[in-house]
């Protein structure tokens, strides 16, 4: 299934982009992200933990970067894979994320071609689409908060325990950090897995 969306972050791409490259920041912005680990130049592994309706959920994932464009429009393509062994399900996402300027803000847009295989796959599209919207909103709000230490509108609807907003010093982009940016956006979708555990 194809998912695409766009959200605004109240900071310029040059501010947002470095933020993406900070693994600590990303970990805080991704709902439920507990680990991010670099395996080699282009492969990363992480763990997403979430608790919804009192059910704790944990899914491993990996990310492999395919290309990075760092010009006016900054873009990253990557393949993400996640797996929930208990639910007998796996997910694969071909993702493209772009950041471009929009006045004083940045527009972040993503396109994903997501395959969801196994038990969760047969629960169908509506739930996934809906959950991905929720997680995206949460991620966008946290990201906005991370960009702007001042109070922001658009309070996250259901913040996780790690939602305390850090003030992050931008650091120069590194190859490692770039990968994390993609992980961030796309993990929002993997978090869908967590949401579904509630089973409604």
């Amino acid at each position: 299934m194809k998912l695409a969306s766009e959200f605004s972050v109240p900071a310029s791409p040059t501010e947002v982009f470095p933020l993406f490259f900070d693994p600590d920041a990303m970990r805080r912005c991704i709902p439920g992200c507990e680990e991010l680990e670099r395996l080699d130049e282009s492969t990363y592994r992480g763990r997403l933990v979430n608790e919804v309706a009192h059910v704790r959920f944990s899914a491993g994932f990996s990310a492999a970067i395919e290309s990075v464009t760092d010009s006016d429009v900054k873009a990253v393509k990557a393949v993400l894979k996640g797996e929930d062994r208990k639910l007998g399900s796996s997910i694969k996402i071909d993702a493209q994320l772009r950041i471009r300027p929009d006045g004083d803000s940045s527009l972040v847009d993503y396109e994903m071609d997501m395959a969801l295989w196994g038990k969760l796959g047969r629960l169908g599209e509506p739930i996934i689409r809906r959950r991905s919207q929720e997680v995206e909103r949460e991620f966008a709000a946290l990201l906005a908060a991370a960009c702007a230490p001042q109070p922001v509108t658009g309070e996250p609807e259901r913040s996780t325990g790690t939602a305390a907003v850090p003030t992050v010093a931008p650091s120069p982009p590194s190859r490692t950090a770039r990968t994390v940016a993609v992980v961030a956006a796309v993990l929002a979708v993997i978090a869908v897995l967590a949401g579904m555990r509630r089973g409604r």
């Binding site: 059910v55 038990k119 599209e125 509506p126």
Partner: protein
């Protein structure tokens, strides 16, 4: 009890919960079974309306004479739930707490301005159904709250109503779109099902309107509420279109009854 159990799941009729357990995606292991608690299956009626316990079945609401008399729109909507066998078991409290966007009763309860009575160790509070559905399968119930009653105001004399459920595939499938319309005292109340992540409500004053004007007004007030989820039953575009068709049908139908009354 709800506050002492780890990972509780309230078990009403159980029809929805059992399905999720079977699909291997629900692991709640502490069911709080309401079947053993007395007094939750009663329906009472007075001049103001109905009060139904959470364990009243959908079938009970469909067939109860008082419901048919006092709130025929509710009775009609409950009659459209799944099939008679499921209605025999499905509880009205569970149906509401499930919070699913496609269920049949919520549109009717929205149009009728029903109230949910929610109880926890902290006490009992009333939640208007119009504020009950918060987000996709999310309700305003706190985790430790139970639905302990549903109150439905009596349909005013001289009111008219319609419930239209439309399935796009086999005829007894889930709704692709559903609508409840109640016209009472020239106020038109509209409840929508399956057309957004939550059941939605809209109303407008139809004083002085012709039937066509009322239809136009109805289409106008529902337009911003439509946010359908695409699935095998239809795309966003198709569901939006269907919404217009069934809302027009329902408003026109109810209007006609009003004229004939």
């Amino acid at each position: 009890m709800m506050s002492t159990v780890d990972n509780p799941m309230v078990y009403g009729g159980g029809t929805a919960i059992q399905i999720l357990i079977k699909q291997g995606i629900l692991f709640a292991d502490n069911f709080v079974d309401l079947a053993g608690i007395p007094g939750l299956t009663e329906i009472t009626a007075d001049a103001a309306g109905l009060r139904a316990g959470p364990m009243v079945t959908a079938r009970g609401m469909e067939t109860d004479d008082r419901v048919r008399r006092v709130a025929p729109l509710a009775s009609t909507a409950y009659r459209h739930v799944a099939n008679p066998r499921v209605r025999n078991t499905a509880s009205i409290g569970g149906n509401l707490a499930h919070g699913d966007y496609r269920l049949d009763p919520p549109p009717a309860l929205l149009a009728l301005d029903a109230t949910v009575e929610a109880t926890s160790v902290r006490g009992t509070r009333s939640l208007p159904v119009r504020q009950f559905f918060v987000d996709f399968q999310q309700t305003a119930l706190a985790p430790d709250e139970l639905v302990t009653a549903v109150r439905i105001p009596a349909q005013p004399t001289g009111s008219a109503y319609r419930f239209v459920k439309y399935s796009s595939l086999s005829a007894n499938d889930w709704p692709c779109a559903s609508v409840a319309v109640l016209i009472a005292g020239r106020e038109v109340h509209i409840g929508l099902g399956a057309l957004a992540p939550v059941p939605r409500y809209a109303s407008f004053d139809a004083t002085g309107m012709t039937d066509q004007a009322a239809v136009d007004a109805a289409l106008e007030v529902i337009a911003p509420l439509l946010d359908p989820i695409p699935d095998v039953r239809g795309s966003v575009r198709y569901k939006r279109r269907l919404a217009q068709v069934i809302v027009e049908d329902a408003v026109r139908g109810a209007w006609k009854d009003l004229d004939n009354a």
